[in-house]
Amino acid sequence: MKDKIKTFEEFEARMKSQEIPPVQRNIELERKKIYKPIYLRASFIAIFLSICVTASIATAMNYTGWKLFNAEGQEVFEMKTMSEEEEAPHRKYDEVMEKYRVIKEKLSDMPKGKFRYFLAVDGYEELGMYGGYGLTMLHNGEKIDSVMQIPKELKELLLLKEDLQVPEEVKESLYFEGIGEDKLVLTEGTIYYNFPAIEVDGLAKDMYAEAKENNVEYIVREGTLTDDIREVKLLYSENKEGFGGIEITLQSANEGMSTTENLASSTKLTENGVDYLYDPVFQQVYFVIEDDTKKFIVTIRFTTKWEGIVVAKEDVLAIAKSILK
């Protein structure tokens, strides 16, 4: 039994000398991994695959993937898992670029509507063996705080509101111990714009030559973003300080997307003529929306994963259906 504390000074001393119980469990990085969007963004893929087309065709027979169809039975989107060979340049890129992390972060401070091309000499040389150039576009999204700021022609494709009703059955999946609000509010919205079309090969070669000539490690050039929306990301949470929530992402789509994610455990469901792809690992569902001129792949994702709670596909679908027109 320890001595009685009689003064504040004794209390201070006891606070300082108290034994904190040791951590019993290692921090579960698995949870953290949940937040890593391991699919590679379309823009990056577009640039890479445009110069790796031979490799893609060579391995196309081996992919594992899914095809989504519209109500008329026409294929509208394909998601395929990259082969190891296809992943290799992306992994190499990550490896090479790690040392430029801080530089790239600093370079990311730029005016609205602008972006930067970044090319590292060693990146260009190392990725050359894969048929790539390691050309990176650094850019920022434009913050929005209301769905009203989403251009009408895009907004009208879905029933997007300032809040998101949480069905009762979804609450347990969404909140720790199922205690939480019935409605989530839009706490963070971002619009990303497309880059102008460029001839990657020529630009990368030119930047590489300039870097070599000036004997510098990397070269940066300025660019101006187009007005075309590439992606809209909306995070609905309890409030600004809330933990977790539901993220809705609309990404401009063409025929499909390659991903490093293993899609084997995904399930395809069709309801009212809409194909959904449910991914239990990342607690997300994909579906396609389109009109005569545009096509977007929509992802709805639970950003929090609680131990012992699996988000049922019906729960994610309930959210998806609530925003579908």
């Binding site: 039994m1 320890k2 001595d3 009685k4 504390i5 009689k6 003064t7 504040f8 209390f11 201070e12 006891r14 606070m15 300082k16 108290q18 034994e19 904190i20 119980p21 951590v23 019993q24 469990r25 921090i27 579960e28 949870r31 953290k32 937040y35 890593k36 969007p37 590679l40 963004r41 823009s43 990056f44 890129y93 990550d94 670029m97 790690e98 992390r101 790239k104 972060e105 990311s108 401070d109 990176t136 576009m137 650094l138 850019h139 920022n140 999204g141 434009e142 913050k143 720790f176 111990e177 205690i179 971002t190 990303y192 992606e231 300080e241 933990f243 950003t303």
Partner: protein, 172 residues
């Protein structure tokens, strides 16, 4: 500003950064959470969730004062946790636990005093006494002014002294 940077490899950078932060701050944040929550299991959960939250944050790579930022996340997170649980369930250091082995290595005396403080007050005590932080840093973590931080600490100090005096009177 790095906010909203959507360049693909940002996630890799964030992962590296969070690994660094885990190494440097995990035990400190865990101890901080423990002192607010007074329960090791909840503190472990809280510390883990704090780092997940940090990883999720767009500010992860732009923040200058990482120390204050992480403590602020931990502070808000622990207070939210407290809100979500009943006091009795959450803070198991009432007298009925005397004789049982508890998280604080049976320092029931200390536990008793802390049980009389609000979680916010415990957070202040930990920052000032255990972490030995100056009022500038405490103000930054708690998102209050420096004079307010100083006054708040003095008030808590008086409260602790009153608790001690009251107890001594009760015991005759």
């Amino acid at each position: 500003m790095l906010t909203n940077l959507s360049e693909t490899h940002l996630e890799e950078s964030k992962e590296t950064r969070i690994e660094e932060l885990l190494k440097e701050y995990h035990s400190k944040i865990y101890a901080y959470c423990f002192n607010i929550l007074r329960n090791s299991h909840d503190a472990e959960d809280a510390a883990q969730e704090v780092f997940i939250k940090a990883f999720q944050s767009k500010k992860l790579l732009e923040i200058n004062n990482t120390n204050a930022w992480l403590y602020r996340i931990a502070y808000n997170h622990c207070l939210n946790k407290v809100k979500r649980k009943s006091f009795i369930e959450f803070i198991p250091f009432v007298e009925k636990n005397r004789g049982q082995e508890d998280d604080t290595n049976s320092d029931m005396e200390l536990s008793y005093i802390l049980s009389k403080l609000k979680p916010k007050e415990r957070a202040m005590i930990v920052l000032r006494i255990v972490e030995d932080k100056d009022f500038t840093e405490i103000a930054s973590i708690l998102d209050i002014g420096i004079p307010t931080a100083r006054k708040r600490f003095e008030r808590i100090k008086s409260k602790v002294q009153k608790i001690l005096e009251g107890r001594m009177q009760d015991e005759g």
